[in-house]
Subunit: 283 residues, 2 copies
Amino acid sequence: MLSSGVFAGAFDTAYAYAREDREGKQFGAELTRIGYQGDVPCGSHKLGAHFELHIEQGPILEAEAKTIGVVTGVQGMRWYEVTVTGMEGHAGATPMKLRRDALVGASRMVTAINQVGWDHAPDAVATVGLLESHPNSRNVVPGSVFFTIDLRHPNDAVVVGMEAEMRQRLASIAADCDLDVAIECVWDSPAVRYDPDCIAAVRRAAEAAGYPSREIVSGAGHDSAYIARVAPTSMVFVPCEKGLSHNEAEHAEKSDVVAGANVLLRAVLETDQRLAERAGRGV
Amino acid sequence: MLSSGVFAGAFDTAYAYAREDREGKQFGAELTRIGYQGDVPCGSHKLGAHFELHIEQGPILEAEAKTIGVVTGVQGMRWYEVTVTGMEGHAGATPMKLRRDALVGASRMVTAINQVGWDHAPDAVATVGLLESHPNSRNVVPGSVFFTIDLRHPNDAVVVGMEAEMRQRLASIAADCDLDVAIECVWDSPAVRYDPDCIAAVRRAAEAAGYPSREIVSGAGHDSAYIARVAPTSMVFVPCEKGLSHNEAEHAEKSDVVAGANVLLRAVLETDQRLAERAGRGV
């Protein structure tokens, strides 16, 4: 979502170019290296409306035997980076009572963050997806641990409450384990409500084509969440097997993909006609 | 301890040469690369006795203001490699109740292993020093986690009991979290009792030089633990600041290092005289 964020004005290009992956590769330098640094100002191409077709990446449509998800918005999400600092020591010669084991503390934090998700289920999710322990040697008591947190809920106020609960639990565990903890919010993406006319166009397209459908809030982030800031937007979801995504076993039935493409086409054609009529031009 | 293990016959050279680090570099190939592959058969140089001087790597001597540790042996230790397998999924679109989060399960295991150490404290230690989560991406529910365990106690029977307790706790957590767990013991180093004559030589050397001393069991593994299988052995410990080791802040006072060297020299000279008298030769 970095590039759509620049398109929509959420970030500037300098911010985007300076982003580094965990190996230190910069986004801007890598664009140049592969010959993808263009010269058209980002965002200069104005959009009358925006539609995006995607697999659901979740289990709801499959469970309810719906072919089309009429996407009404995207849940709010916040990302955090956490560093837990203790004291390295020899695993054989450092008695339990003298340890400040950063991984033991971080492990209690991971389970606490999972509990924050459960406390606000079924609509909330809380995930620690990335964790790195240092110095990561089998006979050294870990001295520091870096990990990330992903908190999401369709209601921004609940996300705020989840963050407060998470911060309180982590501070309590750090104090209990004689560890230092630093928590930084690195991304805050508020809940998004898509355009009523675009949502209606997707709903009518599904009905006209005879596909069973339901309204749905996206659990995943999408480029459309940013584009919605600068153009009327909605999305079309189709089911994926067992809700699996970000997994090599990800699978969607060809008939569902075809249905999604049909709905996308009908929604775009109807919206184009509507915009043309509003502008007083022919279709 | 790989090379001393080959010297003592605990491993053969083929095993040692084939060891790989986490980047896949092989011990034998790296020896060749840096020009350290010699042509003298390992173990062909016989030893009359063996003494090793080392910092304690623990806090006991400093706490009791003893300059010399007369090392009577090495605690038993076992190393394990554990793989926890769940299911990858999208962090935003996979509801809490449908997750099989390998990192949440592994985190509960890390705290359980820590508890095994506490259950047998003060002499036992239990450590998870290395942990790697896969795919390690901030918006993916972790699908698998690899980690190591280090269990130690001066009494082998207690180490056996700690392993049984560890295995029971990990199996219970895996079942509770709908995860698979595989546990492999990759190293088993039984407790070692050093040679009574060598231990006595170290004790007398400390007394003769006027240094305060105490007997101590090594918490760390040492080359001497293997060499003790093929030659009479003991060790000399000196204090290190706050017991810190495997840490860049590791520090020993120069006066303590000098004391350790003096005790080492006296113990070697006394043992040489004793062996010479036994062999009927002059010193």
